[in-house]
Every structure is written in structure tokens, then in C-alpha cells.
Amino acid sequence: MAGYILQRVFQSVIVLLVLTLLVFVGIWMIGNPADALISPDATMAERESAIRALGLDKPLWRQYLDFLSGLLRGDLGNSFIYREPVIDVLAARMPASLELAFVSFVIAVTLSIPLGLYAGLHPDTPLSQMIMGFSLIGVSVPQFWQGMVLIIIFGITLAILPVGGRGDTATFMGITSSLFTLDGLAHLLLPAVNMALLKMSLLLRVTRAAVMEVRSLDYVRFARAKGVRRSRIIRRHILRNVLLPVVTVLGIEIGNLVAYAVITETVFSWPGLGRLLISSIQVLDRPMILAYLCFTAMLFILLNLLVDILYTMIDPRVRDAIKSGGSK
């Protein structure tokens, strides 16, 4: 198991190196950040000292090596725009993004699995047809437009929910979050639903497909023939096997949750990491973009590991496969 984890981490580090190198060269190709940052009125001397202060006078490979050695020390440099360590800027924005991701994840999982289970067990009822129709629209509707429709309906026409910003925050057990105030929760609801809808529709479809496949398998039929209670068949025989593909999709979708937060945060003016990325891209704030990348990559690595571990807990066969693979 430890070897397996180590291997995964090693792969992810290589991925991270390739990504940062690509972004480094890419941003260098589109333009010198100095042009965007230094006012055109500046004298030559001012310009040169500013370029030196930003470390942009060195050759590119040198800048990249500096970045890597900083990364090893946990120092990702200063933002070109905010003039403070990018880590601090990221840390300030992180709670907003995490609470949004958390709430939408909870909404998506708690609604999709029961609905998918129902639609898979009773595929021909009108309610199932409705659920499937809803999920078809859910996977097809562009997320940003769906968010705008939510704003129009609940924020402007009915005017019952706030549509921009994060609202009041409160500190509870050392965590400052808008989860702990009513105003904060009200602000959180629409963006969270916006982000959850696509995930929910997707998970629902995966769950339904898995249920339909599993429920006609021999061991389920056998359990039914034995006279096992229906609720027990669903819990022990169907749900347990359905969870496997669901967890796989969940692992991929958590990555998407982080990526698509960019859209939700833009639509709802949510002060999180996604909006930070978009504004940094617009002004070519290279240290900020790189730091965001490193952070999300690290998040992916962690989450993927978590999914893998969860996998082995749900399915003993996977555990055995890793064990035999590891001893090879």
C-alpha cells in the first residue's frame, strides 16, 4: 500500500513539474509581465530597477530554477499585483472556495444517490422518467447560464436570496466561514446549487446505470429467491456494488468541482480561488497562476489518494490486486 501511494505521489510530482514548466514558458511567450506591470511613464532607470525587483532580468531557465527552489522551501514568491506572498493571498481566499465546494458536494451526493437508486430500481415509473429528463438537462445546461437563471429567478424576480459576495462570516472552532451565519448560508445557497447541479445529474446517471446493471446479476436474484428482505438486498447487495463506480466518478468530479468553481465564482462574484485565477490570468500575474496550479495539483493528489483508499475499503478485490501488484 505504501509503495503504491509513493508511486502515485511520484507520478503527480512529475505532472506538476511539466505543468509549471509549460505555464512558465507559455506566459513568457505571450508577453513580458513587466510591460503590463510597469507604468509607461516610468523612466528607464525606474523600469530596470522594477524589473530587477521582480526577478525578471534573469534568463528564463534561471527564473524557473528559482521558482523550483522556492517551491521546495515552501516559498512561491510574491504576487506581481498584490505585492505580497502568493501563499498569503491564496490562504485568504481558500476558505471561501472550500466552503462552496463542500456544500455543493454534500448537496450533490445526498440527492444524487437516492434519486439514482430509485430511478435504477424502478426505471419505468413516471417519476423515474422525470428524474432522468431532469438529469439530462442537468448534464447539458451550461453551468454559467444556469447560474444566471438562478440569479434571475431567486435573486431578482423573487428577490429572496442574495446573489453576490460571501455575506457575513463567523469564527467557530478556529475556522472563519460563512457556514456559521444565516446571512452567510443564504449567500452560499445559490452558488452551491449552481455548482452541485451538474455533479448531481452526472452522479445520478452513473448510480442509475450501475443499479440497473447490478440488480439483474445472479447474486441479487439469488438473495431475492432466498427471501432476503428487500431493504437488505438494496443495502448489502446492490448499494455496496454500486458505490464502486460512483466513487470513481466522484474522484474525477472533485477535480472538476475545483475547476468549474472558476465559473461559479465568476457568476456569483464569490471571493474564492477561482476568481483569483481568472483575474490573475487577465493581468498575467505569473506567480499567482503558478501558485494556484501547485495548490490545485496538490489538492488533486490528496483527493485521488483518498479515493483510492476509499476504493480499497469498499472493494476487497481492489485491495488484493494492489497487494499482488505491489509484490511484483
Binding site: I30, I137, V139, P142, Q143, W145, I156
Partner: protein, 402 residues
Amino acid sequence: MIHLARSFFSEFSEKPIAVICLVITLIFAGCAVFAPLIAPMNPYDLRTFSLSDARLPPGAQQMEEALIVTMPLSAQAGEGGVEQVLEDGTRIVATLTPDVDGRLRLEIEFPDGFEISAIRLLSLPRDASVAGARRHPIRSEWTLIDPAQPAVIETGPQIPTVLDFSVVLEATSPATGTTFALGTDGFGRDMLSAIIYGVRISFIVGAVGALGSMIVGSSLGLIAAWYGGRIDSAIMRIADFQLSIPSLMVGLLVLTVLGKGVDKILIAIVLIQWTLFARTTRSVALAELRSDYVDAARGLRLSALRINLRHILPNCLPPLLVILTINIASAITLEASLSFLGVGLPLTQPSLGMLIANGYEYMFSKLYWIAIYPGLVLLLMVVSINVVGDRLRDMYNPQLKR
């Protein structure tokens, strides 16, 4: 061939909803090809729209620019007149006559059918007042409340010997007969036309992007399967690496590095989507490579290119077509999302995503149609393509056939 097509359609049409969606998809494809012929206006042609039509609600009429006639009137001892003949022969006469009470009556004559929306009197003396008219809060400008009634000007106890002022007539602007069925945007552009052109860009970007991905992906898949070994594992490792990064993130990074533009967005789509095609082609090709007919082709010493393109590739096509259909839909959504974020297409090429993004700022002033209609069209397009893709997948999935 005809027989094949017929059996394909009879199987496809077992689900009526899929047929409806196929028709809708084909209509959108038609829109994409014939947009300039279908659209009421050309949203790229600056001459066809004007700012005066901006933000009109759906169903509003396009108006011609209002006709304004300014007539200088000079009166002596309260009597005078002015006559003006417009380009189309319309004769307008304004006469000023003093009445018994020492007030001045201004009568304006114009032929029937010439509709006046407002009459204003400019640069009257400071102490003059006009009955039945509103004064501009700052300027010496009076607007008659009822243009049909003669205006009565009071100039104080004595009628001035010389009185100069201007009569300004504003004609009701006639409708041009063009209706903005879906309203106009912030530039006065017809939304319906903009949407049709937007469909053209979105659909072409989606279709070309997905097709390009299929060509690149299946080529790489065939290469991986044919050569095996290191080449195979290198290609498949890159595919795995790509699949682990969310597609929107890849798109954002690629467009950050390359800049905006249709060609760049196509590159991004190919970079994102080739992996699925490559994997599928490889897995089908690996199975086919073991079959007898490939051995026979090898025995005939056919070239590797010929065996791959003529013998193996046709067998990979059914699953590839399913992926192609669904990838067209996801490419359209991806392009729209990137354009919404402001990194996709340039402003000169308004795709549906860009139109929705433009509508975002107007949403808060309750001008919903600017964002809602392009979004509905985008949704309809993506849903239809997805349903067609689902149907194709069900048809080619032997597990579901019983």
C-alpha cells in the same frame, strides 16, 4: 449502402424523442451553414444597427431616426410666420397672430398623415411664458403638452416690436417594418440574428474541434496499437496524464498561453478530447489485430497504412461516432464556458457563450432577454446532440440488445 442506411434509421427511430432531437440537431447544422441567408440582419455589419435601438424588448419594432424640423420665426408687433417645405414635399406653416387680450397665438399647419410627436419653442424671451407647455428647467425651451392645440404665448403687458424664436417640430418616427423578435442587445443588434450567427460559430467550433480530436486521437490510438511497446505506453501515459486534469483547466491554461481566437480554441479542444478517441481506438484495434482478416492482409503484404486505414479503422468507427457526437456537445459547452470567462473567442466573433456573457451585465437591470435566449438555444442544441449520442450508444452497445 442504402439498405444499411434504411435499417440504421428504422432502428434509430425506435425512440421518437431521439428522432426529434436528430431533426433539431440537423436544423442547427443548417443554421450554422446558412446563417447569412436565414438571419434577418447581419450582426457584423455596423450599418444595419444603431444605438437608438439598444436594449429593446422582444417583439419591439425598429424605428427610423426621428425627423426634426427647425423653423426660425421672426415676428413684428406680434405678427409673423414661417413656411418650410420638406424634401418629400410636405409643407409646414407656422403663423403667429396677436389676439384681443394681447397674447400671441401660434398656429402650426401640416398635412394630414404627417404625425408630430413633439413641438418645442426655443429661445423665447426670458419673461415670456407659454400656456399649455412645460418649460425646460434650465434652458429657455418650451415643450407643448398637446401638439394639436395652438400654443398661446404671453409676453407680458406689451407685445414686443420684434420677436425672434424657433419652432422645432419632431415628427413621429415611422416603423421600418423590421421587428426584433427576440429584442436587441446593448448595441442595438437584433438578438435573433446574433443568435443565428452565434449558433454558426458555436456549432462549427464544436464540430470541427471534435472532428479534429477524432482524427488526431484515432491516429494516435492506431499507432499505439500497431507498434505497441514503448510507443504504446508513451502515448497512453500522456493520455492518462491529460485525463487527470479537468478539461476546463486545460482549456484555461492553453488559452492563457496561446491567447484568444478560433484557431486557439480548436487547439485547446483537440488537446482535451483526443485522449478518449485514442483510448477507444486502441482498445478496439488491439482486438482487431488478433483477428484472421488482419493476418490475411499481412500475408498479402499490404502496407501498414493500408491495413490500418482500410481494415482496422472501419471497425473502430461505430464507437468513435458515438464519442464524436457526445464530444461535439461538450466542445460547444467548453467553448461557451471559456468565452464566458473572457479567454475564449475575441469580441468580433460572438459565439453563444459570448452573447450570454454580454447579457450578464444587463441581467441586473432586468433586461433578461439578452442572456436568456442565447442560453436557451445553447441548451437546446447541447441537449439534442446529447440525446442523439445516447441513442447511438444504446444502438451500438450489444449489452442492451436483448
